[in-house]
């Protein structure tokens, strides 16, 4: 067959396979494909615009400095993300402090143990993201104001904000993008911030504590007190940690070949437990923001049927580890009620912070505060060799003494001054650090 006839045949074949090819304006098709797969603002990462606005004097950027001893990791798109490891300002979670107090105290305890410099202040509000996603009773300017006010308080202390809650983390990433990409928000926000004596501050990276814990986990695991090699751990990665602004979530080739977020799975692995998989690993926990408060028939059914039962029946898990406020609450509180239908599940649920702190020898009651959990955490502790009964006896005595006024409360860091509960004074860091 001659070359010409081959080409002719090829042309005919192409024509029969792609009958519309001649009639299509390919340039337009390319434009549309680019549109479909691009970000709405044609930016690789919003940080490009962040630095531009900083140069123009539009915003103040809270940079991660060498004194924060940052570690560089990879995000979903392969871009680097700096995780500061010390000199941290705790942005606490309302749900954790309210109902899972052992969650933040485990973080503080580990930081003490790892000699990490930190600041925890009464000058912080919650992100109000829980309220927003539940009720819709907020608006972009209010959300931006709440974010910037908290970030300003961290900025003025020189300590870098570390976000405890998964929803705060995801929500703040969204709010950050909105402030950076929309001038009209900045224009409405600025006068409000000025009224409070503040300006628009945005941290260079929004960092979740689980990312901090992941990058610290190898070092922390050196202080491990109990052997976890017989433990099968199922992990629930919180939706708001990796589905909200996914490009800012960190991944690691060593964790499921980078097919799952690095935290908290990588943390659990680095502490030596065996990770077990289950088919609904990607699913939501059932929290639902408003649902957990006023529509719990959904939350408890979803948590039990779609998360706990698969983790137990498929993964034969000994413990469920997760890294967000809502997920710990929902997974933990939704199991007992299953008894009403003969579903006797009692899989212990812990945050990665509690899991790691307990493995490092933290007091399960005083520090990890496991008595706030509804599931059988004690059973898990016995399995790894924690002398639960001794700790429990000591803690019950402590409660008794507190009740009778025989004991003074113990603290992980010095108590705040009385004035700190009223005003945010400029000398507060000096006082606090001088006192330590």
């Amino acid at each position: 067959m001659s070359v010409q006839s081959v080409e002719k045949k090829l042309e005919e074949e192409i024509k029969s396979e792609f009958p519309y090819a001649d009639n299509v304006d390919w340039n337009e098709v390319y434009q549309r494909i680019i549109y479909r797969y691009s970000t709405p603002h044609g930016l690789q990462h919003v940080k490009e615009e962040l630095y531009k606005l900083e140069d123009e004097g539009e915003i103040i950027v809270h940079h991660i400095k060498p004194e924060n001893n940052p570690v560089e990791v990879q995000t979903l798109n392969g871009f680097p993300k700096k995780i500061p490891t010390t000199k941290l300002w705790h942005h606490k979670s309302c749900g954790q402090c309210g109902h899972i107090p052992g969650y933040p105290t485990s973080v503080f305890w580990m930081m003490n143990k790892l000699e990490v410099d930190y600041l925890d202040e009464p000058h912080q509000t919650s992100c109000t993201g829980w309220n927003y996603h539940a009720s819709g009773a907020s608006n972009p300017v209010a959300l931006a104001g709440v974010f910037v006010r908290n970030m300003w308080r961290a900025y003025e202390t020189g300590y870098y904000p570390l976000i405890h809650c998964g929803t705060s983390f995801g929500h703040y990433k969204e709010v950050r993008n909105m402030i950076i990409l929309h001038k009209e928000i900045r224009e409405k926000l600025r006068p409000i911030m000025r009224k409070l004596g503040m300006d628009i501050v945005i941290p260079e990276e929004i960092v979740h504590y689980s990312e901090w814990l992941f990058v610290m986990s190898k070092k922390a695991a050196q202080q491990k007190k109990y052997d976890l090699s017989n433990i099968k751990a199922a992990v629930h990665t919180p939706c708001h940690v990796y589905k909200l602004v996914p490009e800012d979530t960190i991944y690691d080739p060593a964790v499921y070949q980078g097919r799952r977020p690095a935290a908290p799975t990588g943390t659990v692995m680095n502490f030596g437990a065996k990770i077990v998989d289950y088919s609904t690993w990607w699913d939501c926990c059932g929290f639902g923001f408003r649902h957990i408060l006023t529509e719990r028939e959904f939350s408890r059914s979803f948590a039990l049927f779609k998360k706990v039962i698969p983790a137990v029946e498929e993964g034969h898990a000994d413990v469920f580890v997760t890294s967000d406020t809502g997920c710990v609450t929902t997974l933990d509180k939704s199991q007992w009620v299953g008894k009403a239908h003969g579903l006797n599940y009692n899989l212990p649920v812990l945050s990665d912070a509690q899991f790691a702190a307990i493995a490092m020898g933290a007091d399960p009651y005083l520090i990890a505060q496991i008595h706030w959990h509804a599931t059988d955490v004690e059973g898990f502790l016995r399995k790894i060799g924690v002398p639960v009964d001794d700790y429990k006896e000591k803690f019950l005595q402590y409660l008794q003494d507190l009740r009778e006024g025989k004991a003074e409360p113990q603290y992980l860091y010095p108590k705040h001054r009385k004035i700190d509960f009223y005003l945010a004074l400029p000398d507060r860091v000096k006082w606090y650090k001088g006192n330590k």
Partner: protein
Amino acid sequence: MVNKALLSTLPDDPRYLDASYNVQGPLPEEDRNLLSNLKPEERELAKQFWEAVKSDFRFNEYLRGCLNCGVCTSGCPAAKFYDFGPREMIQYMMRNEVDKIWEFVNKKVWACVQCYTCSMRCPFNNEIAGLIMLLREYAVKFALPSAKEVLAPYRRVLLTVITMGNQVTPDMIQPDAFPDWGPQAVEESKNMDVYRKAIPVDLLQRTDIGWHSSLQTAVEIMTIFIESGVLDSIKKIDKDLYDMIMDIYEERKQTLEEIKEKWKKGELKEEDLPDSWLEL
């Protein structure tokens, strides 16, 4: 059949990416004649509502097209339990179906659990959960009866978050409200005081707030909510709640100013202050 003639009729709006524009794109109301199914008193409001949502600065950023592939709904937790699916919402939005959007807002939009699975999976990069939030936000702004109904049991949470900057309080876990959380929750609620005292961080030792924020912080967050117009929406939804919040604001603002003034003059004696401003 796809040809140049059809492609050339595509609108500038890149959301209508493919040749199915003739079935995906908005139909003029005269052709659909569905708006007429709405009650006369709802018609205008439904139109105003939809126009307001579409004019929000986030709308075009969040709605980028739809293949009708259904990936959003297949991964949706709420779709497994409720008569709800993100795809149906996106399709109504793409087709400008005011009546259907109105129905969706009033009956279904509150079912979403805001997990963002749909947003992460959408092949068009639609911010689907964000679109749902837009509908909810405007439902509150328009004080729709469905929003009022949904927010009624949520009053206390709104009061706490706006006046103290904390969504939840430890003492909200009452045995009669949370019996499904099991005996441990009952035990906690009975002995809340001592359990909170046994938390080794001073900010966490109260039963009426997640952590003890400063008075200045509480006034600042109320200022943000007021100045940004959130309270205007609350006023329409729940006038009593609005009045309560404004009273608290005025009172706390005044107390804060007095304390600040004294501190500036060097006249503030710390020992004269109560342990907590919450007891003032």
